[in-house]
């Protein structure tokens, strides 16, 4: 049964997934865009010559330079500068890195928690299963944004202000992650229930393979597909949630602005003609989320027709 596991990547290559990917222009384009965004964000130090968060490198006199193609634009600031003289392009890329870090970490947090709980619930069943499932019900009725706001509010009350700025990003990851885990838990549990009754699992139990090994070695691979789909869509949701919280002023501190923070700060200049300060971060955010959603949509169609 498991002898083809070693060539997992090879299996992917000649599978229907690969074929369907090649056939889908939306999937290719969105993947391409995402690769560019991810690369530029994570290697931003090498992509742009500016570090917008080093205050001593900024000059206030550069502030409000419009994009380079407009009349007063400067070639060195392609997308113009903001009110502090920061290069918009580098600021956006640095901001996007923070948004992505928060998004990915939140999804991974939700994934680990959700899959862990869902898998064990499906496997062990009984009272434990009931409690976990009840928890997912309750959690699902609490909207993510409210959950995140409450977590942030409580965190502000408990930890000191100095700590809060440092902790803000972790609080955010926790807050967003905690609202996304039930999806993972439900899918994992459902898949586990199906797998559990198959012969090879009973056989493994009989020959004394430990529960943990059965869960992780045999059942886990079977739920990778739906988890990947949920994770992708969850990433888009997490990025939007982060932007929203930052826009509301309870997200990451303005000293390390994410895309949402940038839009909030730029919003003040919307009517004064300096449209680029809010426009570019907003467009960037939408392109990012849209690409992830397109990819997620395609994945859902291909990987897991049942979720359609």
């Amino acid at each position: 049964m498991d002898n083809r596991k070693l060539t997992w990547f090879g299996r992917v290559k000649d599978s229907d997934i690969y074929y369907s990917f090649i056939k889908s222009p939306t999937a290719i384009v969105s993947t391409f865009i995402l690769i560019i965004i991810f690369f530029c964000s994570f290697f931003v130090e090498f992509v742009t010559p500016y570090n917008p968060f080093d205050p001593s490198s900024l000059s206030l006199m550069d502030a409000f330079t419009p994009p380079s193609w407009t009349e007063d634009g400067l070639a060195k600031f392609i997308l113009g500068t903001d009110g502090q003289g920061r290069d918009m392009l580098s600021t956006i890329l640095y901001g996007s890195r923070i948004s992505l870090i928060v998004g990915f970490s939140a999804v991974i947090f939700a994934l680990v928690l959700g899959v862990g709980l869902g898998l064990s619930a499906g496997y062990f069943g009984g009272k434990y299963e009931m409690i976990v499932m009840r928890l997912t019900d309750v959690q699902l009725t609490v909207p993510s944004i409210l959950m995140a706001l409450l977590v942030d509010g409580i965190a502000r009350g408990i930890i000191t202000r100095e700590l809060h700025d440092e902790m803000a990003i972790y609080v955010l990851i926790f807050a967003i992650g905690i609202s996304e885990w039930p999806q993972f838990a439900r899918v994992s549990r459902a898949a586990t229930l199906v797998e559990k009754n198959k012969d090879y699992v009973s056989a493994s139990t009989i020959i004394g393979v430990s529960n943990l090994i059965i869960m992780f070695k045999h059942i886990l691979p079977n739920i990778l597909r739906p988890v990947l789909v949920i994770g992708t869509i969850g990433l888009a949701l997490a990025i939007i949630a982060e932007a929203t919280l930052s826009f509301l002023g309870v997200g990451v501190p303005p000293t390390t602005p994410s895309l949402g923070t940038l839009i909030r700060l730029g919003n003040d200049f919307l009517f004064s003609g300096e449209w680029w300060i809010t426009f570019f971060p907003a467009i960037f955010l939408v392109v990012l989320a849209f690409s992830i959603n397109l990819l997620g949509d395609w994945m859902r169609d291909t990987l897991n027709p049942k979720l359609n």
Binding site: T141, G157, A236, T278, A282, L285, V286
Partner: protein, 322 residues
């Protein structure tokens, strides 16, 4: 009956969380008095507020007060929280109701359309836009709307509720022209995200149901396509929509925080976001209890609706009770 018990339990848990917020996040006394206050005065205040009582007595007092709608005085605004919530409740409820209506009606219509015409050009467009709708954060849409409709076109107000009319304890914006105009932008903004969900849900349901045997039989019997789509398919497809719509009201209330902030809508969400920034715990805990109450109520209503719409559940329930 079991449902009622569960609901009560949920409320009690939420009440306990709110209570802990109140009591363990910072010393309430520190939040109430200035720094010049002497220790004796503090002790006296602590006594009069009953903060020296055992914790279970404090908690039961909190529950009693909360059930009467009393949550103390806001640290920031220095007014009773119940009064603040009370003032802002109608604004949020009206906004959410209109948004839910917009989302439900247009979401169902578009969902049915795309479900029936699976491969049409228009369907593709609608689906692409709905995906874009999920990718656009609510606040971006709000800013866009303000800029377009209020500033450039100048046809709709950009903030507030317009003129309100007080009918008894309820202040409504539905009875004045400016009130009706004012609710358009915020409610559409708020509804978009939910609408996209409903479109997708209804579409999936329609597609699934149209492939079931009984629809095939209906077709074979020569019933008109229109009748099949709306009488047979849609009716069955509506059940999950009701559940989602129910949960959505809760989500809409939560998301109204953003819409209210962008449009300066004087509702509870706007109050709450300011409370979070100020760590105004009485408001936060009151809001929490209120939201929990709404969720519990909605779940309850959805259950009852289910009972009436889906005969299978009714039969099961009767069998159990009988």
């Amino acid at each position: 009956m079991k449902r009622l018990f569960q609901s009560a339990m949920v409320m009690l848990v939420v009440a306990f969380v709110s209570f802990s917020l109140f009591n363990f996040v910072g010393d309430p006394i520190n939040n109430m008095v200035g720094e010049e206050t002497s220790d004796e005065e503090r002790a006296e205040l602590r006594d009069t507020l009953g903060l020296t009582d055992p914790i279970h007595i404090q908690f039961s007092r909190f529950v009693v007060n909360a059930s009467k709608g009393e949550f103390g005085i806001s640290y920031q605004l220095r007014r009773p929280v119940s009064e603040l919530i009370y003032e802002r409740l109608p604004a949020t409820i009206e906004l959410v109701l209109i948004s839910a209506l917009i989302a439900l009606v247009s979401g169902t219509l578009l969902g049915v359309y795309t479900g029936i015409n699976r491969k049409g050009f228009l369907s593709d467009i609608i689906l692409a836009i709905s995906l874009l709708g999920v990718s656009l954060p609510t606040f971006v849409i709000g800013i866009l709307f303000i800029y377009l409709f209020a500033v450039i076109l100048g046809i709709l107000p950009s903030f507030g509720r317009g003129e309100v009319v007080n009918i008894g304890f309820w202040s409504t914006g539905f009875l004045t022209l400016s009130g009706l105009k004012a609710i358009i932008l915020p409610s559409v903004t708020l509804s978009l995200f939910q609408m996209t969900y409903i479109i997708r849900l209804v579409r999936a349901e329609m597609m699934e149901i149209l492939q079931t045997d009984y629809i095939k039989f209906a077709r074979a019997r020569g019933i008109s396509e229109k009748s099949i789509h709306y009488k047979h398919a849609l009716k069955n497809g509506l059940i999950p929509v009701i559940t989602i719509a129910g949960i959505n009201i809760g989500t809409l209330i939560a998301f109204s925080i953003i819409t209210e902030t962008v449009f300066q809508w004087p509702g509870m969400g706007f109050l709450f976001i300011q409370a979070v920034q100020f760590v105004d715990i009485p408001i936060m805990s009151a809001y929490l209890v209120f939201i929990a109450f709404v969720f519990v109520m909605i779940n309850f209503i959805v259950d009852i609706l289910y009972y009436f719409i889906d005969p299978r559940i009714r039969v099961k329930a009767e069998a159990v009770s009988g």
